[in-house]
Symmetry: C2
Subunit: 283 residues, 2 copies
């Protein structure tokens, strides 16, 4: 039987940033080399690319072990409701990149994504007089150095970005703490049946903060379901009320998890399951 055209065409994987971005590394680490990359300028465009079927999968950074959660992406998870089907955790090593021949003494400003600047804060604070300029992407700041021939600037980006844009690495591992990992979620249009070593992500809200959060966590504690992460985001229009994003061990294929969710519906005014998926490995 002849293969259908879509079965032989490559998976289109969208990520935010330019070629050389850490998200691109995460895409290859999760899917392997046989993919077609679909770079997107913003996180919103990244979500939209999968929602609109311009890509099959999105690789979305959700949390870094130094800078914390990528809050915008929590908001977008709720807005787009694309199911989470996977996860991967990438070790991040930041490098200081310059045009060939430029010396550190000549550098007056450092360009990078705000999260990368944040992860290198201690390094940058020791560097007297240097100006920090936020860019929309690590790789984009590397590309800009090359494109605009900026000899007074450096970029903080990956080794791949240095290679891609013909830049020199003059310092390596400049992140404040080497336990620097970014957790990426893989989003698609269709849920995938939960697998081994599963975790589940949900989002919920309730009317009164008072004792409600305790009751919500009790739903899991009573069933010996381990919580992995909790994150809160503002509920627009209702000052200082929140959406809570919760990750827990197990999948909705487990009876205990299904019962917990059922129980949680009694307590919450809003509840959405974002996905059950295999817990990511560290790469």
């Amino acid at each position: 039987m002849p293969s259908k055209s879509h079965s032989i065409s490559k998976r289109r994987v969208a990520f935010q940033g330019e070629i050389g971005a850490y998200s691109e590394q995460a895409a290859f680490a999760f899917f392997g080399p046989e993919i077609e990359l679909v770079p997107q300028p913003t996180f919103r465009a990244l979500f939209r690319s999968v929602a609109d079927s311009h890509a099959d999968s999105a690789v979305v950074p959700i949390e870094n072990s130094l800078a914390g959660s990528v809050h915008e992406n929590y908001d977008l998870l709720l807005q787009y409701r694309l199911p989470i089907v996977g996860e991967i955790i990438l070790r991040i090593v930041h490098h200081l990149l310059v045009l060939p021949g430029v010396k550190k003494e000549e550098v007056r400003r450092v360009l990078s994504h705000p999260q990368a600047l944040e992860q290198c804060r201690a390094y940058l604070e020791k560097w007297e007089g240097v100006i920090v300029e936020p860019a929309y992407d690590t790789a984009a700041s590397a590309k800009r150095l090359m494109a605009e021939d900026l000899r007074d600037a450096a970029a903080i980006a990956s080794q791949q970005a240095a290679a891609e844009y013909g830049l020199e690495i003059i310092e390596s591992g400049i992140e404040s703490n080497h336990e620097n990992h970014t957790r990426f979620l893989i989003l698609e249009r269709e849920e995938k049946p939960p697998a081994e070593n599963a975790k589940t992500s949900i989002v919920f809200s309730f009317r009164d903060m008072a004792g409600a959060l305790f009751k919500c966590l009790a739903v899991f504690a009573l069933r010996d379901i381990n919580l992995l992460k909790i994150e809160s985001r503002p509920l627009h229009g209702q000052p200082f009320r929140y959406y809570f994003y919760l990750d827990f061990e197990g999948s909705l294929a487990d009876e205990a998890a299904r019962n917990a969710i059922q129980n949680l519906r009694e307590i919450t005014t809003f509840l959405e399951v974002l996905g059950s998926y295999p817990a990511g490995r560290f790469v």
Copy 2:
């Protein structure tokens, strides 16, 4: 008896940003007009100014009802351990500012603080082709328009900033949602005895996420102490472990709250009280 010199000198109140910043409004709303303003370029400098006695009080934005928490300031609360002595909640109205005579059609780029840009995201997304440029402060972006005579740019900032830098307001109330309030904390070097209508802020961490967060919240639920907010921040060096910041009703002058804290020490590996203070009013 003659007053000592320091009792007649004005209170020095530090805030992040330039004259015309929302933080400046919060300072006046909390302390009244008889203060000496001490502008600081960064949040870190703001904390340092009080720690080093260059200012008596710091006015620190900690949470916005649309954009969420100011995570950097959570981290700095832990690093500097300056006690929280007060709180105030300021209604934020964003305006689009331009040089006198400039029309909206001439504007190619919009400058403001990333949080302000985030709060006006819906407005900016509808504005086709406009380039968004993050600045370190709302008022600073207004000042820059004036200083550099930028006729192709607009700033998002306050009415005060428009007046201060001689700019025209061409659109008002451009925030995505008018329930836009920023909560500011007041930090000083000395704790103040807890007052009426008190709330308390703490930060803690524990070894295993599993059931520990539930136990920590139980400490409060068992004593009918209402929780107001929970926020997590990464624990550096230990990927995907967290510090939890918790606000609850009551002060450490209350026996129930003291017992809860005592109980919490048994469960946590780290616990710090950030302050008991009167809950802020909305202004």
